[in-house]
Amino acid sequence: MIRIENITKRFAETTVLKGISAVFEKGKTNLIIGQSGSGKTVLMKSIVGLHEVDEGEIYYNDTLFNKLSFNEKKLLRREVGMLFQGSALFDSATVQENVMYPLDMFTNKSFDEKLERVNFCLHRVNMDDSNSLFPSELSGGMKKRVAIARAIALNPRYLFCDEPNSGLDPKTSIVIDELIKEITEEYDITTIVNTHDMNSVMGIGDKIIFIYKGQKWWEGTKEDILQSDNKELNDFVFASKLAKRIRFGTE
């Protein structure tokens, strides 16, 4: 479980996050949604510590993350896996080397043991027999799957996914979404997904937080969205004419 309290983040004179509090539950796919520029990527990067917050507290279970020393943060981060928007695979390394990287760095396993784990993770994301390929030889969806395999290599307790469907076709997006949800439930981890893909919201959103202009504007489940009368949320979720017609019976 991850809990954030009154998170505020400023860049120079601009306040990007304004006192956001939320609880991200274990074993659930927690979604942060909002328009581009609303502050959801900054929020996620603040939670994982890539940005220092100006105010507020971030708890990983009962550990106050933003007061930890550099080395303590490093230790905690070994329990964190993250899937980046652009996959962030190491270009100069093969698929096998990418997935094996965290195992090389943080375990003392033999090469055979590490290879077994790599093959297991690649099998889990349906990327068997891709060990010797380089990232440049993979499609966008394949890169995302390899990035997920790398993120779960060390059995993380927390999984962060920053716009996992960006640049993917709808069918591949569903495959990635389902994979994230399956892994979350299978390993009982706390997963936070940043997205503005409404298929994801309605498909895997166990808990949804809507960020609007740097503030938490709404919180609920995918079922609650359909009943909500929050204007900003409805404008975002039912942005297309088709969606408006389905939701409200009018454009």
């Binding site: 994982v48 510590g49 981060r77 993250m82 980046f84 652009g86 190491f90 760095m105 943080f106």
Partner: protein, 248 residues
């Protein structure tokens, strides 16, 4: 502008603080250093050899044409070629060439890793990305560049001999006499010390500009240019300081 300069120097020192730390795993550090020796060192042998040969040749011909005086013995052409190559060419000029070749390579490689979030991925895993990415490059260059410098000295002198003999401005006997005349072995130590310092400057400054880039491909290109320009300027500045310190 002055404040900006001090701010950048401060950032660079903090960056070095992150870089110069104990590696997470020594065998990974060793593996990465060997890779960097190949990438930054072995792959530079060709260009350094070509440039050294031509520079040695040009120094020999220019000295010959500018000392056409019956009172000056011909072997002085060899002396001038030797000292020019030893004192300045094989350390400073080679460092400037490497600042262009290696510096832009490092800055663009690390800069691309930054803008494609590969460095963020390392940080999320709990890896000290600055140390992991930069320390092997710095160590590789500091270990291997002295070999490039020594090679450059030999190739430069050989280039001077070849063109001197071919054009007939100096005989082999006279050239060798000049090379050996009042030879000061300390000059080799001097060249190697400068090369080691320059290797640190080139790799660390280029890495700094790559590591701190933000934006996209345009900024990566710009950081690559800055890396070459600033590492060249700092190499020249330290050349002055080291020459004063080591030869005075």
């Amino acid at each position: 502008m002055l404040i900006r300069l001090f701010h950048t120097i401060g950032e660079y020192i903090l960056f070095l603080g992150k870089v110069i730390t104990k590696p997470e795993k020594w065998w990974i550090f060793y593996r990465e250093t060997v890779k960097e020796i190949e990438k930054l060192g072995l792959n530079s042998i060709g260009i350094i050899a070509i440039i050294s040969a031509f520079m040695g040749a040009v120094i020999t011909i220019q000295t010959a044409y500018n000392t056409e005086n019956p009172l000056l013995p011909n072997y002085l052409i060899g002396v001038a070629a030797r000292d020019s190559i030893l004192l300045e060419f094989s350390s400073t000029i080679v460092a400037l060439i490497l600042a262009g070749k290696v510096g832009s390579n490092i800055a663009s490689e690390i800069g691309t890793m930054r803008v494609t979030e590969q460095i963020d991925a390392l940080e999320i895993m709990g890896v000290n990305s600055a140390s992991y990415l930069v320390l092997p490059k710095v160590v590789a260059a500091m270990v291997f560049n002295p070999f490039l410098c020594i090679m450059s000295i030999f190739v430069g002198i050989a280039g001077g001999w070849a063109v001197g003999s071919f054009t007939g401005v100096i005989t082999t006997q006279q050239y060798l006499e000049g090379i050996l005349y009042v030879f000061i072995p300390y000059y080799i130590t001097y060249a190697v010390i400068k090369t080691v310092v320059f290797a640190f400057i080139i790799t660390s400054i280029s890495s700094f500009y790559g590591y701190t880039v933000s934006g996209g491909s345009l900024e990566v290109g710009s950081s690559s240019t800055k890396a070459v320009v600033y590492s060249s300027v700092v190499v020249l500045l330290f050349n002055l300081i080291l020459t004063q310190l080591l030869l005075s």
